[in-house]
Amino acid sequence: MRGYIPLSILLASALVLAGCKREERELRPSPPASEVVNETQVSGLNPGANPLPTPPTPAMYEESAYAVSEGKRLFNQYNCSGCHANGGGGIGPPLMDNYWVYGSQPQNIFTTIVEGRPNGMPSFRNRIPQYQVWEIAAYVRSMSGLLPKDVAPSRSDQLYVRPPEQSMPKQTPVGVTGEPQK
């Protein structure tokens, strides 16, 4: 019997140490020291041998259910639906399919939001704080099933228009630079 006690304590502490990133709630994001927008890379192609160093992927936003749900709230409140219509597309392209014009990586989406894109996507530089852009980017990815199902949001208190993000089948990204940069 005694042998089991240290074992279970070990197991329990391993669980706790691994922590639960899904439930992490960063309520007071530290203000970024400087904008890193220009470091993100839109194209997967590089001249020369060494690709530019990519900035650290903000995994904390993609792994936290709270951050993704904040992204969902901001997506609606900043009226992204005005053009992208709940992800189905309208004036802007649909976001719940597998086709990514400017890349499916969080950095790509970040750049799209901050810099804007030709043909109508406005630039939100200075208008949306950087951490919120990452949250929105994480949410946008959840719309095509690119986030784990236990992190993606469930249904909203709205009319039913499409399956909630947690029920979206995973869409393998294709598109101009849709392939993940590894």
Binding site: L15, C20, R22, E23, S69, K149, S154, R155
Partner: protein, 645 residues
């Protein structure tokens, strides 16, 4: 009794004791622990586990008092505070109060007081215990993994719903509900069947000790109340995982549906917690006033009435939602009406003490604590029943004060009284009297300092469930006082723990009946052997031991080579047949593991419940598949081993 009592019968002893001990033996060792199905073992486990949850919930309470002791305190942030108060409430209600007061005391005491050898359906009973533990672990491991439920112990939608509680926090809470309620329902079936079918011959309904009446009534309340919370927590879980729309107002869902269903459970729940307390009081008062209780029939009627009325008052938790005036008046009337049966019980206890010969021993001291504390809580309940006053004090610290007076007064004080009373039976050793009195006074004073203060805070406008407040509100002084009182309470509980461990090791031996009490559990050794009664008793009055004839008959003819009990009928407990109870088994444990896997899996994937059902079915078949003795010979009219000559 239609069975003729034989005259003078020769009863051989000694070997019977050995045979019974062998027949009813429970396995030992690591796996034996998971196979044990005897009610004394499971009852003690319920008590110990729920007491541990009580201590853990108390730690959370202390954290909250620390955070609130000063304005703008920074010990706990809002995220952690919300998890702490939610887990505190859920732990105290679902993991402590009901498992301790109903399951713990009930499972341990009911078969003993009935005069039988084990609870009906001992494997279901053990299964219920394991499910309860898993439910508790789910909530607490969740808290440690930052997945602590954070929408309040009531988890109102839409706050707890899919949009406003991202992640898995509310799902863990909802599944914890399922685990604990399935456990309570299982035990309710065991206890009610034991009371209705396994009472000793002669213990007619009219002679049933009040504690059995209350356990029966509570079992019925559990059976009708717990389904409501299971339905509503399942609705919440389905809203969150498979996108049902029960609580989404934009497509016909309704947020008040949640509140109606939740409080349809929630108010009877209060009585499920409080009635076991009065059961203990009604048991202790006659023992320590040395007379039969006054008003047996009014008390029993009151208990039944309380349980009935408890189902008719749920809306008084919703007065602030803006209901039609007609229904407000109706539920005010119902809520005031429920005062009457409780008042009747109070008057009967008072009359018993008045006309008895009081011995103010330690358990009785706690009963007097109950009288004082619960009286305050009950009287402030009269204020809450009145709709206009409720509009003011609802969801403030006044209500926090009220329900701590009711629940700590109605459950915790009787519980400590009951523990001091029955621990000598459980461990065989007496508790230390001085430490017990120290415990009482620390707890009593600390409790009143903490919670009486909260009445003033509530009237001064402090809402519940705030993680902090600004200094301009002038709530700092009273909060500091309340936090100081909490420290004294903590000291009291530590004294109890010291007392328990010390007396368990070195306490005076108790003997079978240290209090000269009257019910049947005092007719067996302390601690009771696994067969409980060497000779199955018959009963001649409400206090079986006091009222026993000088030569009270015993029951013979129940086999001692298989675990057999006597089944009697519900009304006048006439022997009807004999029933073999199942013995130790690992299957209840394995089934509980399979059920836990299915339930927890369903939080993460809606297919979990489908795939998870397969091992559940396999283990259930393993559990129910018949094996062991062939009962066929028992169909014969007379067997060897009968002591009648």
């Amino acid at each position: 009794m239609n069975m003729a009592l034989s005259e003078q019968i020769v009863i051989p002893q000694g070997n019977a004791e050995l045979r019974l001990a062998r027949t009813w033996a429970q396995p030992r060792g690591f796996w034996g622990w998971f196979m044990n199905v005897h009610h004394t073992a499971i009852g003690v486990r319920f008590m110990v586990t729920s007491f541990i949850f009580f201590l853990l919930g108390g730690v959370l309470a202390a954290m909250m008092r620390l955070q609130l002791s000063r304005p703008e305190n920074g010990v706990l942030g809002p995220d952690l505070y919300n998890q702490v108060f939610t887990v505190h409430g859920s732990t105290m209600i679902f993991l402590f109060a009901v498992p301790m007061m109903f399951q713990g005391f009930g499972v341990y005491l009911v078969p003993l007081i009935c005069g039988t050898r084990n609870i009906a359906f001992p494997r279901l009973n053990a299964f219920s215990y394991y499910l309860y533990v898993v439910g508790g672990l789910l909530l607490w491991v969740g808290l440690l993994l930052k997945t602590g439920a954070d929408a309040g112990w009531f988890s109102y939608v839409p706050l707890s719903g899919p949009e406003f509680t991202p992640g898995k926090r509310s799902d863990f809470w909802a599944q914890m509900i399922t685990f604990t309620e399935v456990s309570a329902l299982g035990v309710a079936i065991c206890i009610a069947t034991t009371i209705l079918r396994q009472r000793a011959p002669g213990m007619t309904l009219n002679r049933m000790p009040i504690i059995l009446w209350e356990k029966l009534v509570i079992s019925m309340a559990v059976i009708f109340a717990m389904p409501a919370v299971m339905v509503v927590s399942s609705m919440l879980l389905m809203d969150r995982t498979i996108n049902t729309q029960f609580f989404n107002p934009s497509v016909g869902g309704d947020v008040l549906l949640y509140q109606h269903l939740f409080w349809f459970f929630g108010h009877p729940e209060v009585y499920i917690i409080f009635l076991p307390g009065t059961a203990i009081v009604s048991t202790l008062v006659p023992v320590f006033t040395r007379r039969h209780i006054f008003g047996y029939i009014p008390i029993v009627t009151s208990v039944v009435a309380t349980a009935f009325l408890g189902f008719g008052v749920w809306v008084h938790h919703m007065f602030a939602t803006g209901l039609p005036q007609m229904s407000e008046s109706f539920f005010t009337a119902a809520s005031l009406m429920i005062v009457v049966p409780t008042a009747v019980q109070f008057y009967c206890w008072l009359a018993t003490i008045w006309h008895g010969r009081l011995q103010l021993k330690l358990p009785m001291l706690w009963v007097f604590g109950f009288f004082f504390v619960f009286l305050i809580g009950g009287l402030s309940g009269v204020m809450l029943a009145s709709v206009p006053v409720d509009w003011q004090v609802h969801d403030t610290f006044f209500v926090v004060a009220h329900f701590h007076y009711v629940l700590i007064g109605g459950a915790l004080f009787p519980m400590f009284g009951g523990l001091y009373f029955w621990i000598p039976k459980i461990t065989g050793r007496m508790m230390n009297d001085f430490l017990g009195k120290l415990h009482f006074w620390l707890f009593f004073i600390g409790f009143n300092v903490t919670f009486f203060t909260m009445h003033f805070l509530g009237l001064r406008g402090m809402p519940r469930r705030v993680y902090t407040y600004t200094p301009e509100m002038h709530w700092g002084g009273l909060n500091m006082l309340a936090s100081g009182g909490a420290l004294i309470m903590v000291a009291g509980v530590i004294v109890f723990l010291v007392n328990f461990f010390q007396s368990r090791a070195t306490g005076r031996l108790a003997g079978p009946n240290p209090w000269a009490a009257g019910s049947l559990e005092w007719a067996v050794p302390s601690p009771p052997p696994h067969y409980n009664f060497l000779e199955l008793p018959t009963v001649n009055g409400r206090e079986a031991v006091w009222d026993a004839l000088p030569n009270q008959p015993i029951v013979t003819g129940v086999r001692d080579d298989i675990p057999e009990v006597l089944v009697t009928n519900s009304l006048d407990s006439e022997p009807q047949h004999k029933d073999e109870l199942p013995g130790p088994s690992i299957w209840p444990f394995l089934t509980s593991i399979a059920v836990s896997i299915a339930f927890i899996w369903s939080i993460f994937s809606s297919w979990g419940i489908a795939y998870g059902a397969i091992p559940v079915v396999i283990t259930l078949i393993g559990w129910l598949w018949p094996r062991g003795h062939s009962p066929a010979p028992r169909l014969e009219t007379r067997m060897e081993g009968t002591w009648t000559r």
